[in-house]
């Protein structure tokens, strides 16, 4: 088994005319790589009618509806995170209830509100209640504000995770930009944070540093927007991990945090 814990799909209400091609390409590359399940999210309309990282409630619902449709179309291949905007607390919690009831298996928080903000506590409480993980978009060591998002870094995610110790949090895309060495130090003592290895960054030494910092038991394989880098990291992990640890990163760690049986091939 091979679980991509950080996948995205596009949707007809989004701004990309090539959305079908991109979705098809992801599934085709997934077959080549051997991905047995894409655990995915759709971030609203990807900026068409509200900003990607600040999606309006109606765009949040639109994106989640599109993902539910893809899950119905590919029940053996695609699982979903309910993407929510915590600034609209009531809508976010209701959307989590709706999407999990419809078969989604996790919660996606992008960059609508800083991770350590109390507004995220109702989301954490919902995750605990439903025993699902939270995948949180992270800028590795945010030294300053970045346009278009209220990005969080690992230290801020750690504050949230410490307030919700029963919830598994996934630190998104360690290769997604920024100083990943900062993130690894920040989350090392917070054992309910797992590291998603996705992102376009393929820095030499990064995977070894992840293993050294948190151990293979807290690593999750994923791709995010670039699947060639996901395949590259998988091949590199094959060279540096024992077979047992490789199995953990490929799927066993994911199976331990998502609902029982939800990742079956």
């Amino acid at each position: 088994m091979l679980i991509d814990v950080h996948a995205h799909f596009y949707q007809p209400a989004g701004g990309r005319p090539d959305w079908v091609d991109r979705n098809t390409s992801r599934l085709r590359a997934g077959e080549q790589i051997g991905i047995t399940r894409h655990v995915a999210s759709i971030l609203g309309t990807w900026g068409r009618t509200s900003p990607t990282y600040f999606p309006s409630p109606s765009d949040v619902t639109s994106g989640n509806d599109a993902l539910l449709a893809l899950m119905r179309e590919h029940p053996d291949r695609i699982s979903g995170y309910a993407c929510v905007n915590p600034n609209y607390t009531a809508h976010a919690v209701a959307e989590i209830e709706r999407c999990l009831a419809a078969g989604m298996i996790g919660i996606k928080l992008a960059a609508s509100r800083r991770a350590n903000d109390p507004l995220l506590d109702p989301i954490g409480e919902a995750a605990r209640r439903h025993r699902v993980p939270v995948l949180h978009h992270i800028w590795q060591h945010r030294r300053h504000e970045w346009p278009g998002q209220e990005a969080s870094d690992a230290a801020e995610l750690a504050a949230l995770a410490e307030r919700h110790p029963a919830v598994p949090f996934i630190l998104a895309h360690i290769g997604g930009g920024g100083d990943w060495t900062h993130s690894l130090v920040a989350i090392r003592p917070v054992t309910n944070i797992l590291v998603d290895l996705s992102g376009s960054g393929v820095d030499g030494g990064m995977l070894e540093a992840c293993v050294e910092a948190v151990g293979a038991a807290r690593l999750l394989w994923g791709c995010d927007l670039t699947m060639c880098t996901g395949l590259a990291k998988l091949r590199h992990l094959e060279a540096i991990l024992s077979p047992a640890d490789l199995e953990r990163v490929r799927w066993r760690n994911a199976a331990g945090i998502f609902p029982d049986g939800s990742l079956a091939a």
């Binding site: 991109r22 590359a29 030499g204 670039t226 060639c228 590199h236």
Partner: protein, 258 residues
């Protein structure tokens, strides 16, 4: 199948520990990903004030292992740059490199034009990197700007004999240069694939369709980047064996003979 990686480095990277960067480690990693030969530059020649030390180490490494071809750094702002170019020529290098933004120089000025003309007179390609690391993650003490596409366009026009090998370029840079140049100018540029995205965005597949596979060559950026990445993006394409071989080393061989 032979596979030549035009984009590799020896020496220490000043901003991050990228692990061991000795010739022995480099060749071990080459073997692991099926690379049969590598064009290699030295990071200290790029980042130190004095480029000579890195180039000297590079020549020594290449003499000890025939799979490594030295691509020395030439800094046209240094008074002895023509001597360094003569030395490169004596060593029979396949190319020299110059990364003006990493040397704190304008990407296009009289010095760069003189260097490129001198290389053209010697029939030497010049390698330039758009970047060595993503702007999002640079150490704050590394203020170097990316090599902009307008600079590549101006440099290729600066002399009819100039040939450029551009590494670490993404789709946007490649398209702005290729379609902003005449076909004759574009034919004098070879792009490495290290920074071009594969699926699901499929930038590499698109560029091979719109620009053609003759303009691309294999490169990785190791040890700063995992060498598996460029192999993976080729594996994820439905390339014919002939087309893959062109990218693996055929285009480079043709380019060097041009």
């Amino acid at each position: 199948m032979s596979q030549v990686d035009v984009n590799t480095f020896l020496g220490a990277y000043p901003f991050r520990d990228v692990g061991a960067t000795s010739p022995a480690v480099l060749t071990r990693e080459m073997e692991r990903v099926g690379t049969t030969a590598a064009w290699v530059s030295h990071l200290s020649a790029i980042y130190h004030q004095d480029v000579d030390g890195g180039n000297t180490a590079l020549y020594a490494a290449a003499e000890l292992d025939g799979r490594l071809r030295a691509v020395p750094t030439i800094d046209p702002s240094r008074p002895e740059w023509i001597t360094a170019l003569d030395e490169a020529d004596r060593h029979g290098v396949p190319a020299v490199r110059c990364d003006p933004t990493l040397h704190g120089l304008p990407p296009v000025d009289d010095g760069m034009r003189e260097l490129l003309a001198a290389c053209a007179a010697r029939d030497l390609p010049v390698m330039m990197a758009v970047r060595l690391e993503d702007l999002r993650q640079r150490q704050p003490a590394d203020p170097a700007a990316d090599l902009p596409p307008w600079a590549v366009r101006q440099l290729i026009r600066s002399h009819p004999g100039v040939r450029l090998i551009i590494t670490h370029a993404d789709r946007d840079v490649i398209e702005q240069v290729h379609f902003g140049s005449t076909p004759q100018e574009a034919s004098r540029i070879l792009w490495d694939i290290s920074w071009v995205w594969g699926p699901p965005e499929d930038h590499l597949e698109l560029l091979l369709a719109t620009i053609g596979d003759a303009r691309f060559t294999f490169g990785t950026g190791m040890p700063l980047r995992l060498p598996e990445t460029s192999v993976a993006k080729l594996d994820l394409l439905n390339l014919s064996a002939a087309s893959r071989q062109q990218i693996a080393d055929g285009n480079l061989a043709t380019f060097c003979l041009t």
